[in-house]
């Protein structure tokens, strides 16, 4: 018993501490705090689940070995035991209540966008105004088989979203044709893009880097090729990228309106 408890504690601390388990025993983490919190909630549930599972398997294997017909030639004719049955029904219900309470208490910080003020660098660069609860809004629009992102001020991009570090980013997700699903594992869970509805999620990058994902709802033949990624950059780089992107869109639009020149890409 002590060994089992010891292993459990070890496993628990190991899993919550080690990033190496992400993607093998735990969900991906390390991009945004909501993904990290999902992974730690998962770790708690996984330990409870493992205890229940090994409890059942140990009881089963013990019963099969101990009460085989050679070692146990006469079967006891027992039809039930009300106290035992009420006991384990209550225990199962209690375990479920514990799981529900743990999940519901962790819920708020996973579901609700981080209200913390943006980093001083982001406020200085003018990405968002100063103060708490000032997120950056980016629209995500799915269509067969590419994601489009619309930024404040009219700029847009495809497939790769550029996002500033240290700012809470809220996403408004929808689709133009069939159902898709937005998912960057390191930045939190999936949110379906369904035509006629707007879905919401958020992330807040702490480190620059590229976070990959892909469409997670069967959307047609090239579903597997509908990739997505988020590139985290410093707020200053983000502002510069946004201006450049807007400039090139305007140039391309102007060229498209001039008759002999063929339309810009996409």
């Amino acid at each position: 018993m002590a060994i089992v408890a010891g292993c459990t504690v070890l496993l628990f601390t190991e899993m919550t501490a080690e990033k190496a388990w992400a993607g093998a025993l735990l969900p991906e983490r390390g991009g945004s705090s909501n993904a990290d919190r999902v992974a730690s909630l998962y770790a708690v549930v996984l330990v409870l689940a493992a205890l229940v599972f090994f409890g059942v398997v140990v009881a089963l294997v013990y019963a099969l070995r101990r009460y085989g017909e050679r070692r146990s030639p006469v079967a006891a004719q027992i039809r039930g035991n009300h106290r035992l049955e009420i006991g384990w029904t209550a225990a199962a219900s209690g375990l479920i209540v514990v799981l529900a309470v743990v999940s519901l208490t962790k819920l708020h910080t996973i579901d609700h966008p981080d209200p913390a003020a943006a980093s001083p660098a982001a406020i200085h660069a003018g990405v968002v105004p100063a103060g708490a609860g000032q997120p950056l809004h980016i629209d995500v629009v799915g269509r067969q088989y590419i994601w489009k992102y619309r930024y404040p001020g009219g700029a847009y991009s495809y497939e790769e979203m550029v996002a500033p570090v240290g700012v809470t980013v809220e996403l408004d997700i929808t689709s133009r044709d069939v159902a898709h699903s937005w998912w960057i594992p390191k930045l939190g869970g999936k949110f379906d893009a369904i035509p006629g509805y707007v879905n919401h999620t958020w992330f807040r990058l702490e480190r620059p880097g590229v976070y990959r994902g892909q469409c997670a709802e069967l959307c047609g033949r090239n579903h597997a090729d509908m990739l997505a990624q988020v590139r985290g950059v410093s707020p200053a780089e983000y502002v510069a990228w946004l201006a450049k992107q807007k400039q090139s869109i305007q140039t391309a639009d102007a060229e498209a309106l001039t008759p002999p020149v063929p339309a810009g890409s996409r």
Binding site: V38, A49, E69, I78, E85, W183, P195
Partner: protein, 560 residues
């Protein structure tokens, strides 16, 4: 054992009961099979047809696993891959698992309750032929344009102009035909169990397999009409200009998902509850001990059937839903773990202090307990919606529902096959081949699906025809593919075992397992009218009572 009621003993001598005025011998050959309204022949028709479809569904599974064995594979085109995945899911759900249970239910419900046939024999035959028609309509699409929107056929992908060809219509007609088949079958089972039980078989003496089928029939009657109506709306959207599910003209794509899963989640229990029933029959027989907590097991089947209609939106946690709705469906989904957990504990308690005879049906029942418990536990994890959003629509979910439906439902099917084959054919299956088949299936299953949890956690979505090498998913997928072939080898050994034992298996006699229920009172295979005499039922284990009575009478005769 020791005290036998004197009046009972006096009445034990069988009197011939002639029920029919005129009994035509059944026609010989295939005409006999086509014209039959005998529940046992219809049961065998269901089982053989469903096992044939299982071969097709299995080949489709292996095609997908082969395609995914290495990154950037080009064995299947994206179009073919989507067709194969749609055929695989639809086949396994509607043409394999549901009809296999219909087959066992047909064969064994009348025998277990001491009836001479189902309540409506002709309706019973109609159910089978509707099922076969559904399968033929669906597979005919292979020669034209197979459906490719997945077994869920989400709108707008299935209703809009996104998939050329009319494969989705074949899928719709499959739902109509097999759905009607299941609804009629469920009515028949309910009426049969309600009205045709042997004298003395009160509700608290009904075999647990029959209890699980009653709960299943309740779910079928409640939810199959919903999916039939839903796909009819889809049909009119596709061809007659209506707009139930298309957002472009005011319909709702999300409405379809709600309607589909209102059917789709109970469907999971429709497939697994009869397996629960089989496990509840097999464990007491091979542990030589009464089932532990008969009433708790029967009641938990009803509880699961009731709760199953209240959990559908846990398949939709990633769609736009308000937090209250999410929390409700999280709690209701978790609640199902309680009756399910009670069953598992009762089953294990049935083994404790028994005298376990380790025959093949018990192997499959024990394998079921291990693997289904794991699938049930990942189900609770999926009920927690922040976690669900990370793992839904990934290989984690694929692993979860294969633990429930392959390790659960199919292990139950295997246990049922090895348990009841002697009754159906009069011959025993080979124990040695059965155990080899079990271990190949057990190890192959774990190799295929355990690793898929990790694939899902590391970001591999389901239903993708390929993946790039830099994702790092190659090794796990290769392991999974190798496991799938081992699993297939295990299933093939069972099928060869069946074919071999049909001719060469040792004679079984009426009651090879020393079982508890009335089907073992008849010769193997049972005659067309099942019972010459229908015994009076005095407990949950009528056949055990009869064995004990015979033993005590022969003993007293010997000493007298």
């Amino acid at each position: 054992m020791s005290v036998v009621d004197q009046t009972t003993r006096a009445r034990a001598a069988p009197h011939a009961e002639i029920i029919a005025n005129r009994v035509d011998p059944p026609p010989e050959g295939w005409v006999g099979w086509v014209r039959t309204v005998d529940h046992k022949r219809i049961g065998i028709l269901y089982l053989t047809t469903a096992f044939a479809f299982m071969m097709l569904g299995g080949v489709e599974a292996l095609l997908m696993r082969t395609q995914l064995a290495e990154p950037d594979n080009t064995l299947l085109t994206p179009q073919i891959y989507n067709q194969v995945l749609t055929m695989h899911g639809t086949t396994m759900v509607f043409l394999v698992v549901m009809p296999i249970w219909a087959g066992f239910a047909n064969y064994f419900v009348p025998l277990q309750i001491g009836a001479r046939d189902m309540a409506f024999p002709r309706l019973n035959a109609l159910s089978y032929w509707l099922y076969l028609a559904g399968g033929i309509v669906f597979y005919a699409a292979v020669f034209f344009a197979p459906p490719e929107a997945g077994w869920t056929s989400y709108t707008p992908l299935s209703t809009g102009p996104y998939i050329p060809g009319n494969g989705t219509d074949a899928w719709i007609f499959l739902i109509h035909l097999t759905g009607l088949s299941s609804i009629l079958g469920a009515l028949n089972i309910t009426v049969t169990i309600a009205n045709m039980r042997a004298r003395g078989m009160g509700w608290s003496r009904l075999p647990l397999f029959c209890w699980s089928l009653l709960a299943q029939a309740f779910m079928i009657l409640l939810t199959l009409p919903v999916i039939a109506g839903t796909v009819t709306l889809m049909l009119t959207d596709r061809h007659f200009g209506t707009c139930f599910f298309s957002p472009s003209c005011g319909g709702s794509a999300l409405l379809y998902q709600h309607l589909f899963w209102f059917f789709g989640h109970p469907e999971v229990y429709i497939m697994i509850l009869p397996a629960f029933g089989v496990i509840s029959e097999v464990l007491p027989v091979f542990a030589r001990k009464p089932i532990f907590g008969y009433k708790a097991i029967a009641a938990s089947s009803i509880g699961i059937a009731f709760l199953s209609t209240l959990v559908w939106a846990h398949h939709m946690f990633a769609t736009p839903l308000t937090t209250v709705v999410l929390a409700f469906f999280m709690l209701s989904s978790m609640a199902i773990a309680v009756p399910t957990g009670v069953k598992i504990l009762n089953w294990i308690a049935t083994l404790f202090r028994g005298s376990i005879s380790a025959r093949t049906p018990l192997y499959f029942a024990a394998g079921f307990l291990v693997l289904f418990t794991l699938g049930g536990i990942t189900g609770v994890m999926l009920a927690i919606f922040p976690i669900d959003r990370q793992v839904t629509d990934t290989y984690f979910v694929v692993a979860h529902f294969h633990f429930v439906l392959v390790a659960g439902a199919v292990s139950g099917v295997m246990a049922a096959l090895y348990y009841w084959f002697p009754k159906m054919t009069g011959r025993m299956l080979s124990e040695g081949a059965g155990k080899v088949s079990f271990w190949l299936q057990f190890v192959g299953f774990l190799a295929t699906f355990l690793i898929q949890h990790s694939l899902g956690l590391s970001g591999m979505p389901r239903r993708i025809y390929t993946y790039r090498a830099d994702t790092g998913w190659g090794v796990d997928n290769l392991i999974s593919t190798v496991g799938a072939f081992i699993l297939a080898a295990g299933v093939i050994i069972t099928i060869l075992n069946v074919l071999w034992s049909l001719r060469r298996g040792p004679a079984a006699g009426p009651d090879p397992w020393k079982a508890n229920t009335l089907e073992w009172f008849t010769p193997s295979p049972p005659p067309p009218h099942n019972f010459d005499v229908i015994p009076r039922v005095r407990s949950v284990e009528p056949l055990r009572d009869i064995r004990h009575r015979i033993a005590s009478e022969t003993r007293s005769d010997g000493t007298a």
